[in-house]
């Protein structure tokens, strides 16, 4: 069984010495101008535990240092190299296009928690709505307030990025959960913009993490 970390370009470039899950050495499965980076296992490395996640991530990030990388979803397993080559052959065009999209670029995460949110933050509840209409209008007001806070943050940041994706708010009070695809050279400028926006928007708490591999820009149907 092979555990797959990423699909990369530059198949002739030697693989890093860094090990993967269960300390297994990295192996490359080339096909056309692509190479899948994998480790081989007799028993599956098992449930995603925190250590496995970071071990997997370190492999992908190490690869990212000197080649274009399509990160695979965690837990991708195939029976053998032949199966891997078949996938690389079948989707060569798609993977090549995706690689062009991420080459030289990194992903950055932004989450923002505001006062009032589309989710209905745990704010002190006003008096119970007297009617269905009141209920809807109160929700709408909260929703719009959260959306204004989100837009104040998202719009200037999206302008600095090659591409951006907004996800659905997950946590209580969350108004924005977004990913931004940046040219690597623009990372510092983006980080400074986040810090500046945070100062300008004191009622919104902003968290920015990265750089990450471009997980949010390579999924199904991501070519755009």
């Amino acid at each position: 069984m092979i555990w797959v970390y990423a699909i990369c370009d530059l198949p002739d470039l030697p693989l890093p010495r860094r090990r993967g899950l269960a300390q297994a050495p990295l192996a490359g499965i080339p096909e056309g101008g692509l190479v899948a980076v994998v480790t081989e296992h007799t028993n599956p490395p098992g449930e995603p535990a925190v250590d496995a996640l970071w071990a997997h991530e370190r492999v992908v990030e190490r690869l990212m240092a000197d080649r274009a990388v399509l990160p695979l979803r965690f837990g991708t397993k195939l029976p053998d190299a032949a199966a891997m080559r078949a996938v690389l052959q079948a989707r060569a065009g798609e993977f090549t296009a995706m690689l062009a999209r991420v080459r030289g670029r990194v992903e950055v995460s932004v989450r923002a928690i505001g006062s009032g949110s589309p989710n209905g933050a745990p704010e002190p509840e006003p008096a119970a709505p007297a009617s269905g209409r009141e209920y809807l209008l109160a929700k709408l007001a909260l929703d719009q307030r959260g959306e204004r806070q989100a837009a104040a943050l998202h719009e200037p940041l999206a302008a600095l990025a090659v591409a951006s994706r907004r996800g659905m708010p997950q946590a209580a009070g969350e108004v924005l959960r977004a990913s931004y695809l940046l040219e690597r050279a623009d990372l510092a400028r983006f980080r400074d913009a986040v810090a500046r926006l945070q100062r300008q928007l004191p009622e919104t708490a902003v968290l920015c993490t990265g750089p990450w591999p471009a997980y949010s820009f390579v999924g199904e149907g991501a070519i755009a």
């Binding site: 995603p48 996640l53 990160p71 991708t76 996938v87 995460s109 996800g167 997980y215 390579v218 999924g219």
Partner: protein, 73 residues
């Protein structure tokens, strides 16, 4: 908060953003998406397609077609 607690909290927060990406992002190989219960694989591709299409339709501001024969107001 001690310096150690602070680093711990930072790690947790980074972990949230990492897991968001590792488990829900990245390239997906293979066609069938399965959910296993008690080691029995149940295929839920249809459900996923439904959820995706509803979310996409929402994004595009499209009306979701009503059940057959019901007027859409």
């Amino acid at each position: 908060m001690s310096a150690r607690d602070e680093i711990g909290r930072q790690r947790e927060v980074a972990l949230v953003d990492l897991v968001d990406r590792l488990l829900a992002g990245g390239v997906v190989l293979g066609g069938d998406l399965t959910l296993s219960i008690a080691d029995v694989d149940l295929v839920y591709v249809g459900l996923r397609a439904l959820i995706t299409s509803v979310a996409t339709a929402e994004e595009k501001g499209l009306a979701i077609p009503p059940a057959q024969g019901q007027p859409f107001r």
